[in-house]
């Protein structure tokens, strides 16, 4: 896939709705979202729980598909893709950081970071080298052999960030990355994300409910009741 035109958004939602359940039990989570995110942006999605921000994140992460409307990723409509095709989009263009870290237990930090490269078919030697570099980039050199159980929460989240960036994704999607961390480690994590955004040009979309963390982002979008409050198409740093 070629890079899309720089004037076009990297990610674009057009009148996206998402309804869970059917008939009388139908529960709309997104009620028509228009959103464009451009290459190199750092966007924070904010809102109370149940506002639709997680649903929006799942759609942006190709983990879920809209009920209606269009999701265009790099000029390609995701709505028509099969489950496996969406898996390939995630494999090649996306990196994920979760609130609960979601590392493989009983597996060393290095192997956790290697995981996306395994699915990309990178050879073992090259894989190990890149995983070490990624761990070094999150200041975890020397912790390669430790399993998640032996690491602090902040360290685990840094391993997760290393895993997300090791495959040089177009977009890093972070879902409440500081939700389980204290404020000091939260700031470390946010500084790291900001650095990857500024120095490596990775586009970051982050869901958070902490205004302090949202301050690190270049743009903030507020979700209320399945709709976007403000920030419509507003670009900026």
């Amino acid at each position: 896939m070629k890079e899309n035109h720089p004037d076009n958004p990297l990610l674009e939602l057009k009148a996206v709705t998402k309804v869970y359940g059917r008939g009388a039990a139908a529960m709309p989570a997104l009620k028509g979202i228009d959103l464009a995110i451009f290459r190199g942006e750092f966007v924070a999605i904010m809102g109370t729980s149940g506002s639709g921000k997680s649903t929006c994140m799942n759609i942006l992460g190709c983990l879920d598909v809209p009920t209606d409307g269009k999701y265009i990723f790099q000029d390609m409509s995701v709505g028509g893709l099969s489950r496996d095709q969406r898996a390939l989009v995630r494999r090649h263009f996306l990196g994920f950081v979760f609130q609960g870290f979601n590392l493989l237990n009983r597996t060393s930090a290095l192997e956790n970071v290697e995981l996306p490269l395994i699915y990309r078919g990178v050879r073992p030697g090259e894989r190990r080298k890149r995983a070490r570099e990624a761990l070094a980039a999150v200041n975890l050199s020397g912790w390669e052999a430790h399993t998640p159980g032996e690491l602090s929460g902040g360290q685990q989240q840094r391993v997760a960030i290393a895993r997300a960036i090791v495959s040089h994704p177009e977009v890093l999607l972070a879902d409440e990355p500081t939700g389980n961390l204290d404020s000091a480690t939260s700031r470390d994590v946010m500084n790291l994300l900001q650095r990857f955004n500024r120095e490596n040009g990775i586009t970051i979309v982050m869901v958070t409910h902490e205004p302090e963390m949202a301050e690190y982002a270049g743009r903030r979008i507020h979700f209320t009741d399945g709709l976007i409050d403000n920030g419509l198409m507003k670009r900026g740093r």
């Binding site: 992460g61 983990l63 879920d64 898996a87 390939l88 995630r90 494999r91 996306p116 395994i118 699915y119």
Partner: protein, 403 residues
């Protein structure tokens, strides 16, 4: 990617050592049961074949009546043979080595105050030739004794031991019920046959003496013929059939009221039985392998549930359904193949031990070893597929939220 899956699977198996061990044990039991029972069954078949050949090779048995009745035979309403029939065989049929008329009856052999239940067989010296018997001591019947039906007998080793112990029986007199007869010879021992009967437990007397003094008729139950070479069996068989159809005046298109069987057919009939037994035992053992497979399915389902989050992470990172499926399938197949290899080993050890205990030859059959291994691998694929598919089809969002 495949090697990664194998490596991952082995690590997962090692992590849950006890659980994996028990699951593997289920397959080990199944595979070794299949191998042991089938190997012992094959051994029994080989044993039967060997013993029938030890009765004397290139034999033909002619009996009145239709069909085959197996060892011991059964009484038929068809006309009996007579001594003339046996003589006609030796005069009219070429290519034969020896002919033995044969009639049996259960009897008591008595010597002094010793008493032994045995079988008395009326026959000729041809019997020794046809059945491959050799004399341990003494002599065969003379022509005069045979023709006159004199009261003389040749003892089987068991009868000799029971009545005479270590004494030399030659020249002594024993009683077969009311018939008093002199011992002229003792046979060398042959031992147990596979039908569990002691071949040495018999007394031979001239057929004429048997007919007159024991049976009280002129019947001959069966005629045994030995043929010079295996090639001659079929031509001799058809000339025997022609001869007896003629002698018994069986018209064109009518069925024979006698049958001519060779040892080959006897072997086929008897090994057929042991083969059916082997198949049945093998099938029962295969069921235990099936149970082992259900064990694999069970443990894989547990594993998939336990590792839901891991599956969610892999799917989110971009694993294809196929890749997750293969990961879990490889794990199931690794368990079953490992069980298969260990099962083959224990099965062979058990077969060797079993063959020793049961006095059966150990017949190593690479075919069954190969099948057992393939079958155990197939069990892994079949019973691993459902849990693996369950893992592969998980929704990544739900799987990631799983606690």
């Amino acid at each position: 990617m495949f090697m990664e899956n194998v490596f991952l699977a082995l690590r997962e198996i090692r992590r849950n050592a006890l659980r994996s061990f028990l699951t593997i044990l289920g397959i080990v039991v199944g595979v070794s049961a299949v191998i042991t029972l089938v190997t012992l069954g094959r051994g029994a078949t080989a044993q039967v074949t060997r013993e029938i050949s030890s009765m004397g090779s290139n034999q033909l048995h002619i009996r009145p009546g239709q069909g085959f009745h197996g060892p011991g035979g059964s009484r038929s309403t068809a006309d009996k043979f007579t001594i003339d029939d046996a003589e006609a065989v030796s005069t009219h049929i070429s290519g034969i080595e020896a002919v033995a008329p044969n009639s049996n009856q259960a009897t008591q052999a008595i010597k002094g105050n010793l008493n032994w239940s045995t079988t008395v067989t009326g026959t000729t010296n041809g019997f020794l030739q046809v059945r491959d018997w050799e004399l341990h001591s003494g002599r065969e019947f003379t022509n005069t004794e045979l023709r006159a039906g004199k009261a003389v007998c040749i003892l089987g080793a068991t009868v000799c031991k029971e009545l005479f112990g270590a004494q030399n029986p030659i020249g002594s007199w024993i009683r077969l019920e009311k018939l008093s007869c002199q011992v002229i010879g003792v046979l060398k021992t042959k031992g147990q046959s596979s039908f569990g009967h002691d071949q040495d437990d018999m007394v031979l007397i001239p057929i004429a003496a048997f007919q007159r003094r024991i049976a009280g008729n002129t019947d001959v139950d069966a005629i045994f013929v030995s043929v010079r070479s295996a090639d001659a069996i079929d031509p001799v068989k058809s000339s025997l059939e022609r001869l007896f159809r003629d002698r018994r005046r069986i018209g064109e298109g009518k069925e024979d009221d006698f049958n001519v069987r060779d040892t080959r057919e006897l072997i086929q009939a008897l090994t057929g039985t042991t083969r059916v037994m082997t198949t049945l035992l093998g099938a029962v053992a295969a069921i235990s392998l099936l149970v082992g497979g259900i064990g694999i399915m069970n443990i894989m389902l547990v594993s998939v549930t336990e590792r839901t989050r891991e599956i969610g992470i892999r799917l989110a990172i971009g694993a294809l359904e196929k890749e997750v499926l293969i990961q879990f399938l490889v794990e199931a197949v690794a368990i079953s193949c490992f069980g298969g290899v260990v099962g083959i080993f224990t099965g062979l050890v058990a077969s060797i031990a079993g063959a020793k205990v049961l006095h059966l030859p150990f017949v190593l059959n690479f075919g069954i070893v190969g099948y057992a291994f393939l079958f155990s691998a197939a069990v892994g694929v079949i019973f691993g597929y459902f849990p693996a598919r369950k893992a592969a089809q998980l929704n990544p969002i739900d799987a990631l939220r799983h606690e």
